[in-house]
């Protein structure tokens, strides 16, 4: 290593990988990963979130999982908790929908209404 620039590059690159180990207060993405969720395809959804968040270098966002959220027929379910805001619940998620949730909701603070539980339920009832 001959320069401080190189050191800084290693620092940045590795920090992305280890930053998870610090206590953070940012956005939490929680994926329902009980049997129902996994059977409905929650794992590819979770992986897409991890990839998308990594791609955009959103250091303050964590992806974690939880058990059965309760509405098994709407799985895979993803809940997004932003500090100081109400929880937003997305249902029937697929890997294709992930990029939009990340860019619109997590980055730009505009929840993707058409994926939320309220919207999907209303439409189904009609």
């Amino acid at each position: 290593m001959k320069s401080i620039k190189e050191l800084e590059e290693i620092r940045k690159k590795t920090l992305e990988k280890v930053n998870l180990r610090k206590d953070r207060k940012g956005t939490r993405v929680v994926v329902g990963m009980a049997t129902c969720g996994i059977a409905a395809g929650a794992r590819p959804v979770l992986l897409s979130f991890v990839e998308e968040i990594n791609k955009r270098k959103l250091m303050d966002v964590t992806v974690s999982q939880t058990g059965c959220i309760g509405v098994c027929r709407l799985e895979p379910i993803v809940e997004v908790y932003k500090p100081g805001q109400d929880k937003v619940t997305y249902v029937k998620m697929t890997p294709d929908k992930v990029a939009k949730v990340v860019s619109e909701h997590i980055v730009n603070d505009r929840p993707v209404i058409e994926y939320t539980i309220g919207y999907v339920e209303n439409r189904q009832n009609k």
Binding site: T14, V18, L20
Partner: protein, 598 residues
């Protein structure tokens, strides 16, 4: 994919290693592969988290779930429940990490960590010590880059001087001054040495830093090399620390590969390299002149000072010698500045101190506190109090060179000067808590026994004087103490302190002097009444059966290994004091608590 959604941190320090953390790592790796989670979950072996009592410790992020005393059999549950389903395994959580509303507390809110301030242990339990990139991620080698590109050698020394940092090996000499003396010394070749020959019984601060964050020491030594004008460093580490030695070797190798050790570091023209030297475990080799003799390949014996190492040290050249913990403070001081560091601590003692907490205490382990924290806070808040509802009797600091602090001084702030005032010393950081059942004469005898064993034998006061002191203490604890023994101890202590060659000899009588100062009545009880008030010295104990309580069940007689108990069933039994070996089995077995120990 390099980004993992979850990190499983498993402590690989010596404590958890001994309680089986290697098996856990294997089991996690196996199950994670079996469940095809290897792209999502990363398993990291870290340094010590500090709560050795609860080992092996596993922390799972991002939730920050703190699992304690994890068995190999528990791993499957953690993988299936937590890693796959996201359900935290509550039964394995460290009880103090669960908040009232059942959520997980942040580590900094847990009692054990709340009052701590981790500067030298900043990376312990956070990074993988065998991966230089992780050290760099948390600002590693940034301080070295800063001094080499932005600071003059004088500025570096000035920063360390202004920070108020004092030697953490026990002496407490101002570090910046030491650097300045070595810098000013004339010589074509200078050396930078690291004293990692941690030898106090019960102390493991330096070991934990070397195991958990070896690069911090390497970086600091390179900074010191630049400041004093040296291109060669030596780390003198004891061979009994195999994990520390292995990780240091890996760290040195990685730093050389990255060009952070070697020639022309950061293109500045500065060259610096480090070699390890293994000590065979002689306590005296922690003394600086003996340590340097040992590095030179000679017998590890001290020599008189002056000349001090700064003018005539290793191979007769000017040498800077600091302890592991002292070095670990250097990079943060360079990065955050001397004002930041000197804002922590007390008037005469700046920064933090790492302690290895042991003895009769709930949270045995490793902790780092700002100077000025009181002993009471350490024992009752961080340490979680004394097990079994027993009373605090004294705390021993400073190992064989230190002394005991009694309950009346529980509110003493921990810093160099206050500890000296109460007749103990900071020492390297061993802190042994003793409860009401500990005999203070026996404790003094224990430390003297250690000193006699470890005396190098070069100077008569230490070789012969400590031996005589031990003989007197042996006599007292076995009930053969004589009138005048205390005075003899005091005279010997005074003379040894005044005439021993090195620091170890000069401080060897301290455990006796400090226990005499606070617990003289215990010495007197041993000598005059032939009684041990704490009930610890077996030779002074008598077990007797209380007639009124004895139901004559014969259990005691059946279990007595030397057939010292006799009697007729259904009438009180009697112990033959001549035959009794004071093993205490009868007392343990008696269902009616009819046996008394005095």
């Amino acid at each position: 994919m390099d980004f993992f959604r979850s990190h499983v941190l498993i402590c690989g320090g010596t404590g958890c290693h001994a309680s089986g953390s290697d098996d856990l790592i294997e089991e996690f790796d196996r199950l994670i592969e079996e469940k095809k989670l290897q792209r999502e979950v990363k398993v990291v072996r870290t340094g010590c988290f500090g709560l050795c009592e609860l080992g092996p410790v596993v922390i799972v992020y991002p939730e920050g779930a703190f699992y304690s005393r994890v068995n190999k059999e528990d791993v499957q549950e953690i993988v299936e429940e937590h890693l796959i389903k996201g359900r935290i395994v509550k039964r394995l959580l460290y009880h103090d990490s669960i908040a009232k509303d059942d959520t997980i507390k942040s580590l900094s809110d847990v009692g054990f960590y709340k009052k701590q301030k981790r500067i030298t242990l900043r990376n312990c339990g956070v990074i993988d010590p065998e991966n230089i990139d992780e050290y760099i991620a948390f600002d590693g080698y940034k301080a070295l880059a800063k001094v080499l590109t932005e600071m003059s050698r004088e500025e570096v020394i000035q920063t360390i001087k202004l920070s108020g940092l004092r030697g953490r090996g026990g002496g407490g000499f101002p570090t910046g001054l030491k650097w300045e003396f070595t810098y000013r010394a004339k010589g074509d070749k200078k050396y930078v040495c690291c004293n990692a020959d941690e030898g106090d019984p019960g102390a493991f601060m330096d070991r934990s830093i070397l195991e958990g964050d070896p690069h911090s020491v390497l970086e600091a030594m390179a900074i010191a090399g630049y400041a004093v004008g040296s291109d060669q460093g030596y780390i003198y580490v004891r061979a009994e620390y195999p994990i520390a030695v292995r990780r240091l070797n890996i760290a040195i190798e990685q730093a050389r590969e990255y060009g952070l050790l070697g020639n022309n570091i950061f293109g500045s023209g500065f060259n610096f390299d480090i070699e390890l030297r293994l000590g065979a475990g002689a306590f005296v080799c922690g003394e600086e002149t003996a340590l340097m003799a040992s590095i030179e390949g000679k017998r590890g014996e001290p020599r008189p000072r002056p000349p001090f190492p700064a003018s005539k040290g290793l191979f007769g050249k000017p040498t800077l010698l600091n302890n592991v913990e002292t070095y670990a403070n250097i990079p943060p001081i360079i990065l955050k500045g001397s004002e930041w560091f000197s804002s922590i601590g007390t008037e005469g003692s700046k920064g933090t101190k790492v302690f290895a907490l042991g003895g009769n205490i709930n949270n045995t382990g490793l902790l780092e506190i700002p100077m000025g924290t009181t002993l009471r806070e350490i024992v009752y808040e961080i340490g979680g109090g004394i097990p079994g509802g027993k009373e605090f009797k004294a705390a021993q600091t400073g190992g064989p060179s230190g002394g005991c602090i009694p309950a009346s001084h529980l509110d003493t702030p921990i810093d160099y000067d206050s500890l000296m005032e109460v007749g103990s010393m900071m020492g390297s950081g061993g802190l042994i808590v003793m409860d009401e059942d500990t005999c203070m004469v026996d404790i003094a005898r224990f430390f003297l026994d250690f000193t006699v064993e470890e005396s190098c034998g070069k100077c008569p006061p230490c070789r012969i004087g400590t031996k005589r002191m031990l003989e007197i203490l042996d006599r007292i604890t076995s009930g053969k103490g004589q009138e005048g023994d205390i005075e003899k101890l005091e005279t010997l202590a005074k003379n040894i302190k005044a005439s021993a060659l090195c620091g170890l000899g000069q401080t060897a009588p301290n455990p006796v002097l400090s226990t005499l100062r606070y617990f003289r009545d215990e010495y007197e009880a041993h000598i005059k009444e032939k009684k041990c008030p704490a009930g610890a010295c077996t030779a002074l104990l008598t077990y007797t059966i209380i007639d009124d309580l004895c139901k004559g069940c014969s259990l005691c007689a059946k279990h007595c290994p030397v057939e010292a108990i006799s009697g007729k069933p259904k009438s009180p039994y009697v112990i033959d004091q001549e035959k009794c070996i004071k093993c205490g089995v009868c007392m343990e077995k008696c269902p009616f608590k009819a046996i008394e120990k005095k």
